[in-house]
């Protein structure tokens, strides 16, 4: 027993302590290639001193229990997903050496997209891709790499290329991508091939250690049980049948060209974090209201017009100022089925109490910026509500006599200011004066929060004043 322990390379468990049952033997069939590959990897781990840096990703398939054998951090993942999981493991632990161990069903079938994308992103990962041309553990079914004519449990009459297509050559396929650095196909069928595999495994690991990017070794490996071949003859079978289809050799090698690159994680102090999130620590200033009429308290406001008239940002101006004055406020754009038709609108609620529904059927205030909006929504206003409309654009006065209407020639006034796009802000200024619920000072203070384009702040502040002056005695 002691001798056995000494023989095992570092990185390999002396006893397979994660394995239930017999802790001395592997779970693989006699003649299986996985054992050989594990040993080659374990030796590389020892020689390259990787044991304490390695995170091994165990796949689904016969090698689902890779974690039994390697004395390194290990994660078992869903079928085919190893490259996605490994992507995040590596980004979280840039100093770790992250290794995916995948079979052919795992990598080339169900996980086709994950390997393709990780390879193309050039993730700093190493993939050992074991190609034995069959699904082992699940019961000898067809793999993407099964050979033409090969009998499997799901191709009992042999793989028919007109039905299942020809085998997939992943080493060549992935080598076509820009992202990967090093890809090689090797085999285990004789000592020379094995020693090449040993070299390729080390190349691939070094590629990651040196920060040169994505590496993969496709290893042609025996599955005597799946092939139903006597383990004594599996090497010849492999060489004879798989050899012609899967040529050995390097399909991509940019190790010399790629400059070493290492991801660095940085820690950010709280203050820098808040600044980066555009969060200021200042207490909001509370400014008093000067309500002109109790009817104007706690308004639900609908602003409506065409897209492009600044409806949403006019609403956001009011809502931001409302927050600044310490009110509960909400702003919601027209959403879902309401987006149908030619009007864009939003709802703003300003309330001393918490706001229930952020939209209401019968608003207290309607600001109409075009005729369709006025025609569509004026009827919704409850009696006594306030209707403000852009009388430059809407030349027909509203018909309802039971509401308070205020015509604001906003577009004309904006034109006088030299920019017709300020009509929305003029309307907002007029609303401020008319209702008194929000102060001009609060509005001016929060303008930068509501406007996307900062160079327009000054012009908008001016437009606010113009609108305010217009309505202050009406």
């Amino acid at each position: 027993m002691a001798k056995k322990i000494l023989e095992r390379p570092k990185g390999f468990y002396a006893e397979f302590e994660r394995k239930p049952g017999d802790k001395g033997a592997t779970h693989y069939c006699p003649g299986c290639g996985h054992g050989n590959i594990h040993k080659l990897i374990a030796e590389a781990i020892e020689d390259l001193e990787l044991q304490d840096r390695m995170i091994m990703v165990s796949p689904v398939g016969c090698s689902v229990f890779v974690y039994y054998y390697f004395a390194t951090g290990n994660i078992q993942v869903a079928h085919g997903r190893a490259p996605a999981v490994a992507t995040a493991l590596k980004r979280a632990n840039p100093h770790a050496i992250v290794v995916c161990y995948q079979g052919d069903g795992d990598l080339a079938a169900i996980g086709g997209n994950e390997i393709l994308q990780a390879a193309n992103r050039g993730e700093h990962l190493t993939v050992f891709f074991v190609n034995n041309a069959i699904y082992g553990m699940t019961g000898g079914q067809l793999a993407p790499t099964s050979l033409p004519g090969m009998k499997t449990t799901t191709t009992p009459y042999g793989r028919d290329i007109h039905n299942e297509g020809p085998p997939m050559k992943m080493a060549e396929f992935l080598a076509n991508l820009e992202g990967p650095t090093y890809i090689e196909r090797t085999a285990l069928w004789d000592n020379k091939a094995i020693s090449n595999t040993r070299r390729a495994i080390r190349n691939a690991l070094r590629c990651q250690m040196e920060g040169r990017g994505f590496s993969m070794v496709e290893i042609l490996s025996a599955c005597p049980s799946g092939w139903k071949v006597d383990p004594a003859h599996q090497s010849e079978w492999m060489k004879e049948n798989m050899g012609p289809f899967f040529p050995l050799g390097i399909t991509k090698d940019l190790r010399e060209q790629r400059e070493p690159w290492f991801r660095e994680k940085i820690a950010v102090e709280d203050e820098a974090l808040l600044a980066a999130l555009d969060l200021a620590l200042a207490e909001p200033k509370r400014l008093p209201s000067a309500l002109r009429d109790p009817r104007y308290a706690n308004p639900s406001i609908k602003l409506a017009g065409f897209g492009g008239q600044g409806i949403l940002s006019a609403g956001a101006m009011i809502a931001n100022a409302g927050m600044e004055q310490g009110f509960h406020t909400s702003w919601i754009p027209s959403y879902g089925p309401e987006m149908r038709g030619g009007t864009a609108y939003c709802f703003v609620c300003i309330n001393a109490e918490p706001i229930g529904s952020p939209t209401v059927t019968h608003p207290d205030v309607l600001m109409a910026f075009n005729r369709p909006s006025l025609e569509k929504f004026a009827a919704d206003l409850h009696p006594g509500a306030l209707l403000m409309y852009d009388s430059t654009i809407i030349d027909v006065p509203p018909k309802r006599g039971d509401i308070e209407a205020l015509a604001v020639p906003a577009t004309q006034m904006a034109e006088d200011l030299g920019n017709t796009r300020m009509a929305n802000t003029i309307m907002v200024g007029a609303y401020l004066a008319k209702s008194g619920i929000l102060s001009l000072a609060a509005m001016e203070q929060t303008l930068p929060l509501a406007l996307k384009r900062k160079n327009l702040i000054e012009a908008n502040a001016k437009a606010l004043g113009v609108g305010f002056a217009f309505a202050k005695d009406r």
Binding site: Q76, V85, L89, R91, A96, L116, Q117, A276, L277, A450
Partner: protein, 353 residues
Amino acid sequence: MAKEFIKGNDAIVKAALLAGCESFYGYPITPASEIAHAAAKYFPRVGRTFLQAESEIGSIQMVYGAAAAGERTMTASSGPGMSLKQEGLSYLAGSELPCVVVDIMRGGPGLGNIAPEQSDYFQAVKGGGHGNYKLIVLAPNSAQEMCDLTIRAFELADRYRNPALILADGYIGQMMEPVEFPPPVKGLPAKPWALRGEKISDANLINSIFLDPDELESHNRHLQAKYALIAEREVMVEEYHTGDADFVLVGYGIVSRILRSVVERGRADGHRLGLLRPITLCPYPSVRVAELAGRVKGFLVCELSNGQMVEDIRLAVEGRVPVHFYGRMGGNVPTVEEIYAVVKGQLSVTATA
């Protein structure tokens, strides 16, 4: 603290960063894409990871990897994407990895539309993927709660080593409201089980495979005991005027906001209406529902669905009083008047009975 007038979707991202979230793995889907947009903007600014994955499957598997590495990590999606994420969620739950997933629900089934529904309730609270597991499910109804519950979700996920889901709808995501952001979270929990690529974590194994039936059963029993503990400790519910209510309205998310207005309207007319709003959908406030069932005349459950949460109310009420349902689908959101009309109809039935 810092206050901002902000969309719910954006509030989630800022809250996540304040909660110490280190990585966001996203995939675009309306109406959740805005969250990915904000994450793409803010995460790299502070040295955290944002990556657009190759697929919804890829993104949840990246979350699995980041969670295994001990990071606070998250993703966001909507119905069709959530369906694809179920595989990963099952693995996360099976391997007991913490993470936060946001589902901004849209209309379904199939491609449906991008308007708000609450039809992912079953998928969210009953497991969703294969196996005996549950997610912790939180349902915000304001931009402030998009912030607060995101932070809470990270805490709960870490405390119980379980994925936590924020279940919201496009309405809550799109709405702007004032949000008070708390200071950055201090002292994140140690995760000695995580994979660090260091000597201390050589023996660590993240795994959900238990070949032996007895072992798998005991793993499952352990999970169930954990869910029971969460149910005992972490239920959150908001009540409005339930103290003297004889008829209780129940809804979550945007619907609860509308119901609040219905309660006010009803109270103004002299009806003793109350509102029960589950904030945790899993664990469900069944105990509180059962208490209320002992003294009210009936419930009306409103959802943007065919009636999913109503089943949990009925289970808790156990037939003691009538439980009515009113739902809209397809992205149609009921008005206060619409629901109030239904309520008045039920009240007159209850009165005659």
